[in-house]
Symmetry: C2
């Protein structure tokens, strides 16, 4: 069997659920994304290990990971309740993909799985509160998964390269997932 055939039969990545053992891998991916300064508002100064663990692995409903064939984590999605109390019928989620493994469908796969999961947990909708408008690939990805832009914060984000840019809120009901 040629290497090429073998590659074609092997999935590029598989989805699973994160454990606390994935912390260092999650941290590495996240901090790289943060340093890029193009998608997340958080900055290094506030990001203690405890903060990162809470955000991605502890204060969540569930955390999905995309693993490469060698087991390495290449993408992460944390699903949370968007707001407690009288807003707790809506889910929220965050996504990061390792910079060396972008463009192979990890974001799409995590996005699709997170919608299915959120629906199974009983949520009526998924809402993203902070999609940077210049992140065109993310905006297009979410639109391809049925999300609509429901709001625009003018000049809400101080982008590393572009300065102040708008930020979108995106939303999708889950009834037809």
């Amino acid at each position: 069997m040629s290497a090429m055939t073998k590659t074609a039969q092997q999935p590029a990545f598989t989805l699973g659920t994160a454990t606390m053992d994935d912390f260092e891998a999650v941290k590495e991916i996240f901090l790289h994304v943060v340093d890029e300064g193009e998608t997340y508002s958080y900055e290094r100064g506030e990001l203690t290990d405890e903060w990162i663990r809470n955000y991605w692995l502890k204060n969540v409903i569930t955390t999905l990971v995309a693993r490469l064939p060698d087991g390495k984590v290449a993408g992460v999605c944390a699903i949370r309740v968007n707001r407690t109390g009288r807003g707790d019928h809506i889910a929220n989620a965050s996504y990061i993909v390792h910079h060396d493994h972008r463009g192979i469908g990890i974001g799409y796969a995590l996005g699709l799985e997170s919608l299915t999961d959120a629906k199974q947990y009983g949520y009526k909708a998924m809402q993203f509160n902070y999609v940077v408008s210049t992140n065109a690939k993310a905006v297009a990805l979410w639109q391809s998964l049925g999300f609509k832009i429901i709001g625009t914060m003018p000049q809400g984000y101080r982008h590393e390269r572009h300065g102040l840019v708008d930020v979108y809120m995106m939303h999708r009901f889950l009834d037809n997932v």
Copy 2:
């Protein structure tokens, strides 16, 4: 001097800065508003004293109060950073008015003062992330103070009387305050 004349010369309320001594008064006003179930998403179960103190008095830039002539707190406004890091040029604020003292301009006065304060602290805009659409008086109040609706979360709020209703995001730049 008649009582009427005296009343006319005395302001109905004055604005000042809250101290930790105002905690019980703030708590009473807030819990009544929460129990009304028409404006805030939070519900009793999550509202410990520590939570309330953090939300209104500690994890804030400043807290304004409206005091009646007898010193009683009749309204509260907590000003915060809307988002840390690359979104920290935008302020956020929460407002509550005691149910016995609504309709005399406390909300407007707190709103106006909070815009001036936020500008003085260097913020470029004030953003409200969660204005329940059926709260017509609040929506009109914020519009009268220059806010625009920049987003709508469909069915974002489980209203005590109306069921699922939309929630607005509202925003105002502070350059012309």
